[in-house]
Amino acid sequence: MQVRYFDHAGTTPLDPAVLEAMMPYLRESFGNPMSIYELGGRASAAVQEARADVAALINARPSGVIFTASGAESNNFALRGIALARQNEGKHIIVSKAEHHSVLNSARFLEKQGFIVTYLPIDGYGMVEPETLGKAITKETVLISIILASPEVGTIQPIRELAKMAKEKGIIFHTDAVAAAGQIPIDVKELGVDLLSLSAHQFYGPKGAAALYVREGLRIVPLIYGGIQEGGRRAGTENVPAIAGMGKAAAIARERLSHRIEYLRPLRDRLIEGVKKTDNVYLTGHPAERLPGHASFTVEFVEGEAMLLMMAAKGIYAASGSACSSKALKSSPVLLSMGIPSSVAQGSIVFSLGHENSTDDVEYAITEFSVIAKKLREISPYRGGWGGVEEAEKCIPKK
């Protein structure tokens, strides 16, 4: 069966040109970049070249790019590294409720270390309102971290405006751009952020390579101590093949960005229009301020994991924020924070498109989706409405 892959927010396939760029460093150019002989020099040159390419993707100076092993590591590094570096100036941190677990759980860790954390509410689109941020800032605030774009609902935050508010008060601003990098243009100077996280496997690069951008002159405490790799800020022998791959992926993304966006937007809009033809289906996230390939919904009266399984049986691979589809059996905190009732969040479904998806893929997904939603509603006690089964209703635990 033909696979139609709609889970690019989960991960993307490796671009063949990226694999090609990685191969020498898995084979003959296996040297350690720290070694002084030619083999080491070759590896070191590959890392520096990749650094320049990743920097160019976000309009940063190469020296501002620190390679890490994952987006989660970059987010941990940003929060913990800045909190520790600034703790003498204040112990208050602000994050939003739209954040990824790696930001939220880093914030929770810092809370245990004596920091005070404010979790900013988001509106029905998953957006942080600048006024809310303004009210949360105190004299003690040292760090603000707000996600650039949500992988769950696709919403793009007004980062420029939010970062400006931080700057006026001398507060460090980090943005998690893992879902956004390579999807939309990013310019760290124009955004006015101090730190930014990005990850290669979200833009057709390999897993195991990611980066944290740190503004020139900003002090950050390392997570990993050891040698002097990455300017002493992140020890450990560099993952040269993955880093070379990330550089290549960044270069390709930069070159084709506007082309990809132009291709994805109409495809996404057609998918949204087609999926919404089924009744009681709602778009989640902002209708306009959203990632070019991102289409996410709640489908009432059915559960997300069941939808995913039926779609997978048809070769359609997508994602869901439902409780039953998560290993922890918890609904997506982002959906709940947007004010979506947990019963409705159970019907979450997320399609994230990539440039290798065709119009045919999208039409096929629309058709199959409507059949599957109908079939599962046939099985559901709610079918046409939440009031359908009174005795069943009573069994739903009130939260």
Partner: protein, 123 residues
């Protein structure tokens, strides 16, 4: 992640719907994730003559509902009361650990349906 049998009962669920004029109705909610399963039964000569379900839940929950109604049909009420989450999971060739509570839901909904019948027909 699921056995072939789970996938079969999920993709082609048996006994979907409500039996007509049910003798017993049982519904159970899932405290972990808010899902709901409703089972209706028809009782004849002390045996479960028919059982049907409707479920709002994951793939495992739907497969469990299908299996538990299949198992119950033809059993005496006392036999059916002995169905447990383990016996349903076994019939399905196993469930992932985090999905065992979905199996519980099936056994409990059936139990409630039988109790409902018994409360209406005291011996």
């Amino acid at each position: 992640m699921y056995s072939e049998k789970v996938m079969d009962h999920f993709m082609n669920p048996r006994n979907v719907g409500e039996v007509e004029n049910p003798d017993g109705v049982g519904a159970e909610g899932n405290p972990t994730c808010g899902d709901v399963m409703k089972i209706t039964i028809k009782v004849e000569d002390g045996k479960i003559a028919d059982a049907k379900f409707r479920t709002f839940g994951c793939g495992a929950a739907i497969a469990v509902s299908s299996m538990v109604t299949e198992m119950a049909k033809g059993m005496t009420l006392d036999e059916a009361l002995k169905i447990t989450k383990e016996s349903v999971a076994n019939e399905l060739d196993g469930l992932p650990p985090q999905k065992m509570h979905c199996s519980n839901l099936g056994a409990d909904a059936l139990k409630k349906a039988i109790e409902d019948y018994k409360s209406k027909h005291p011996q």
